[in-house]
């Protein structure tokens, strides 16, 4: 026999391990011990198995693998002696968890032990079962546990009750079996049994509606009596904690009463008195008393309490809130969040204290307080609250700033009633914590500014001032650059000065200075630099005298190693040099960004895996032609055509106009075209796209979103539906002579269990590249769809014009159809076939759904 094996006592092994100075030493000792244990196990050494398992448990706690000991645990459990069983069960609970299959092998031993004569062994078995049984074991052994609930020994009873809790958690179906034994437990006198019994009843209520009703009918009286007894009981040394008899039982009974009284007026009325008694009599100078009061307040909030009781509860919470103990304040903040739904006025009264908690040094308290403040904000107190929060933003911790900023921005957005206040607050937030502000927030700011023409001068001036002070906040810089570019002349000429503003003179060269400093600053990122370049271009048009300087600045970036900057620099340089005549119209003021569309797009785009930048990018083209803000556009305006452009087809020039779209809101071009040659930009610009008659279009068929960066902004619909002369002998697979014969067969473009789309095709004989597609949508489900929107995306070499659909309501089961027409121009007709990705969004009983697909089965020759 190995002399080293198992000879070491547990104590000695622990000492040896603790004496190790390094991890490697410890590993060596552990390895030796494990080897010894393993050989001892394989030799079936009875004497030392107890010690082996104890050692194994210690090694397990250190973090080493110990699965080789699992079978040993089982053997110990199966042996007859009490010490072996005790350590065996302990090892079982520590070394195994319920997901291991080895556990099943214990079931038989457990069954025998549950029926053992020695009550302590029964206790061991119940304990093990209650801690780690799996669902199958629970099912197997439930009858045994039920039987044990009815024994006379309180020790077994309470363990059996807690074991039953685990059983019904694992197998909720068995809950009925435990209902009546549980109720009888509540008649006991022994506190341990009562606690376990009350907890079992609470869990039964959670799991089963029937049990809940049963308990409500039969046990409420008994519970109230129990609570009364312990409330009024004299000093009981065995259960006394801080002057209160058995606070644990207090708390559990209160919790069960809450479950029973929830939603039930009668029960609530019945327990009103006892709740009032507990709430007023309990002393709150020790933690135990506070724990009871806390539970009491929770119960009052959770049942249909009288208003008097509610007032009592809120008062208790108010006291908690001003307690110096951090735990109590935390608990109070937690409770107040639930109390808001019950009585928000009362909570508003504590607003100042809660605001103080936002500034607390404890991170948990700060977090709770901030959430609570957020719930408390309403129209009347939005302004002072925001001011307080922004003041705090200045001094708050770094890790808290992110949370705080996003909450402040939501508050500002939700509750701003005047644009000026909104702009002011946003500028402040950007100056203090611009780096934590999310992109969509400052995009919204830009949309707001663009929609408030009388405040534009004010905005750009405030931003300019803020920039002088906090130019390290990236978002602030970006917003400032954009505004200076757009509204530069307002800045310099002091347009639209409000009364509250101090006089300020900014010269043109100051404005250009700002942009130049941004451009050349070492820490500015590419996006910001790109924005600077475009802003400079705008200024060169708005400030003719500075045009020369601007040109110089731009020229310095012609050699930039970043492709984006180089391209922009070259193109803008080109515009400045050779295209003076169109420069001013190129950089005209942006059309007003439509706020409502922006908001809905932003809400919609959060579903799609498209960044908000892209959706904003769509915005100006949509806005200009949607005309929902009533700005009419002359058809021949070059601006309109520019914004019409598809991004895809021609190589060079589109990037310039795209810059406006991208630059609006910070996107770097992801699909910038390759070369930046000096070809005639204008011709290319104007030759693309059919002339558009502007008219209002419905929301539906007009917006097209891009997938995977390849796809174009499709033109929103036009009034120029091409009349296809269908009789012009287009027959190829001659279907109906003389009648409208589609050259190409219709296809089922997309079919799912809920939707079917068919495409039919028509072509004009003289335009082989152009195809008209008539799409028909059919609803295959049994519920009607509303807000039906069809969107499509096509590869670069294809142009797509989408007409509006005839309706956006699709009746169920194919009872009605929606039709929509679109026109496709395949610039590589004959070389590449059509392909299309589609996306359909609709609402079914107020829930939004989305379906996507790819259509590859276009007939050849399109």
């Amino acid at each position: 026999m190995n002399p080293f094996s198992s000879g070491t006592r547990l104590r000695d092994m622990i000492k040896a391990i603790r004496a190790c100075k390094t991890a490697a030493e410890e590993r060596a000792v552990v390895r030796k011990e494990c080897a010894a244990i393993r050989s001892s196990i394989s030799e079936n050494d009875q004497d030392y198995s107890h010690r082996n398992i104890a050692k194994l448990m210690f090694i397990h706690m250190l973090g080493y693998p110990t699965h080789f000991g699992q079978m040993e645990c089982l053997k110990l459990i199966a042996s007859a002696g009490f010490p072996e069983k005790r350590i065996g069960y302990l090892g079982l609970m520590l070394l195994l968890d319920e997901r291991q299959e080895v556990l099943m092998l214990v079931t038989n031993s457990l069954k025998q032990d549950l029926g053992h004569t020695n009550q302590y062994i029964v206790g061991l078995a119940l304990c093990a079962l209650g801690n780690i049984c799996s669902a199958e074991m629970a099912r197997d052994l439930a009858p045994e546990v039920e039987r044990l609930l009815l024994t006379r020994d309180p020790n077994i009873k309470k363990k059996a009750a807690l074991c039953s809790i685990r059983i019904i958690r694992k197998v909720p179906d068995l809950a009925e079996n435990f209902s009546s034994p549980a109720t009888s437990l509540l008649k006991e006198k022994h506190h341990g049994v009562l606690i376990a019994g009350v907890q079992l009843c609470t869990d039964l209520c959670k799991v089963s509606e029937d049990a809940s009703n049963h308990l409500r009918k039969n046990c409420t009286e008994g519970l109230v009596r129990i609570l009364k007894d312990i409330c009024n009981s004299p000093y009981a040394p065995e259960y006394d904690i801080a002057g209160i008899t058995d606070p644990f039982l207090h708390i559990r009974v209160l919790r069960l009463l809450r479950m029973l009284g929830h939603g039930d007026a009668d029960t609530s009325e019945y327990i009103n008195d006892i709740l009032a008694q507990v709430a007023s009599k309990t002393e709150s100078n020790k933690n135990a008393g506070n724990a009871i009061l806390y539970e009491c307040v929770e119960t009052i909030m959770g049942i249909e309490a009288t208003s008097g009781l509610r007032v009592l509860a809120i008062n208790i919470l108010g006291r908690f809130l001003s307690n110096r103990d951090n735990n109590i304040r935390y608990v109070a903040l937690n409770m107040l969040m639930k109390a808001i739904s019950v009585d928000s006025q009362a909570v508003q009264r504590h607003r100042t204290t809660i605001l103080e908690c936002v500034k607390d040094s404890d991170a948990s308290i700060r977090k709770r307080a901030l959430e609570l403040v957020f719930l408390l904000v309403n129209d009347t107190n939005a302004k002072p609250l925001t001011k307080e929060l922004i003041d705090y933003l200045e001094v708050s911790d770094q890790d808290f700033k992110g949370d705080l900023t996003s909450k402040i921005c939501s508050i500002i957005e939700k509750f701003s009633q005047e644009k000026k206040w909104y702009i002011d607050q946003m500028v402040k937030v950007l100056s203090l914590a611009g780096n934590y502000v999310k992109d969509n927030v400052w995009h919204a700011l830009i949309v707001a500014i663009s929609n408030a023409p009388d405040l534009q001068g004010y905005s750009v001036r405030s931003l300019y001032k803020a920039f002088q002070l906090s130019s390290e906040q990236v978002s602030l810089v970006q917003v400032t650059i954009w505004c200076i570019g757009e509204y530069g002349e307002m800045l310099v000429n002091n347009v639209g000065v409000l009364q509250v503003e101090e006089p300020m003179t900014v010269t043109e060269s100051d404005a250009v200075d700002v942009l130049e400093s941004c451009l050349t600053h070492h820490s500015t990122d590419i996006t910001t630099q790109s924005m600077c370049l475009i802003a400079l271009l705008k200024l060169s048009s708005r400030f003719p005298p500075s045009s020369g300087r601007v040109k110089e600045i731009i020229t310095t970036h012609i050699g930039s190693v970043v492709l984006e900057l180089q391209q922009r620099a070259i193109e803008f340089n080109s515009i400045i040099q050779r295209h003076q005549n169109i420069k001013s119209s190129l950089v005209e003021r942006m059309p007003v960004l439509d706020e409502s569309t922006f908001i809905s797009k932003r809400a919609g785009s959060s579903q799609a895996n498209i960044s908000t930048e892209k959706s904003n990018q769509q915005l100006p083209s949509g806005a200009s032609l949607k005309l929902s803000n009533g700005v009419a556009k002359p058809a021949a305006s070059p601006l309109v055509d520019l914004l019409d452009l598809s991004l895809d087809d021609t190589p060079v020039p589109t990037s310039t106009s795209n810059d406006f779209l991208h630059d609006l809101l910070d996107v770097g071009l992801t699909n910038s075209s390759s070369s930046a040659s000096g070809t005639d930009i204008l011709m290319d610009l104007l030759s693309i796209g059919t002339p558009v008659q502007s008219n209002t279009t419905p929301e539906n068929g007009s917006s097209i979103k891009g997938f995977n960066d390849i796809l174009p902004i499709a033109k929103p619909n036009t009034a120029t539906v091409q009349v296809v002369d269908l009789l012009d002998g287009l027959a190829s697979n001659g279907s109906h002579p003389g009648a409208q014969s589609p050259v190409h067969p219709s296809i089922t473009a997309y079919q799912s269990s809920t939707l079917k789309i068919t495409f039919s095709f028509t072509k004009q004989p003289d335009k082989p590249q152009v195809t008209q597609i008539h799409a028909t949508f059919m609803n295959l489900s049994s519920e009607a769809y509303t807000d039906f929107i069809f969107q499509a995306a096509v590869p670069k070499f294809i142009q797509l014009h989408l007409d509006p659909a005839n309706s956006n309501h699709l009746p169920a089961s194919g009872n009605g159809r929606i039709t929509q027409t679109f026109t496709i121009t395949n610039t590589q007709h004959g070389q590449k076939p059509l392909a299309m990705r589609i996306r359909i969004a609709y609402k079914v009983s107020n829930q939004e759904r989305l379906e996507q697909g790819q259509i590859n089965n276009f007939p050849p020759g399109l």
Partner: protein, 160 residues
Amino acid sequence: MIHFVILISRQGKVRLTKWYSPYQQKERATAIRELSSLILTRGPKLCNFVEWKGYKAVYRRYASLYFCMCVDQDDNELEILEIIHHFVEILDRYFGSVCELDLIFNFHKAYYILDEILIAGELQESSKKIVARLIAAQDTMVETAKAEAGSVSNMIAQTM
């Protein structure tokens, strides 16, 4: 319910762990690591509750040990503090002025005591006297069994 109980020293060494919810070995190690880093870095004056992964971790420091219990969001945190204190007092009574070394060398006894206080993540007995009595009775049984075994094997050894 209480999902798990861990006792860690100030240096982050684990002295006791008890799991009432199914956590696999790797998950256990991660949980312990994350909670340790959260708890050990908190200052003394701060509140005893930490939010972790949708649960609440209630902890209290006794000398060089942190007793931590992880509970659901809707549990009464103050009560859990009381349960922790209940456990510590019982340990104190059993070991007589318990210190960390007692818990290191007699970890199995600490587990036995914990098993008399909590089952399935719920409180089992609120009376310290009864818990002490039960543990004492079981210890006596172990002593008697060992004595018997000692004497039997002595007899066998002698007869051999």
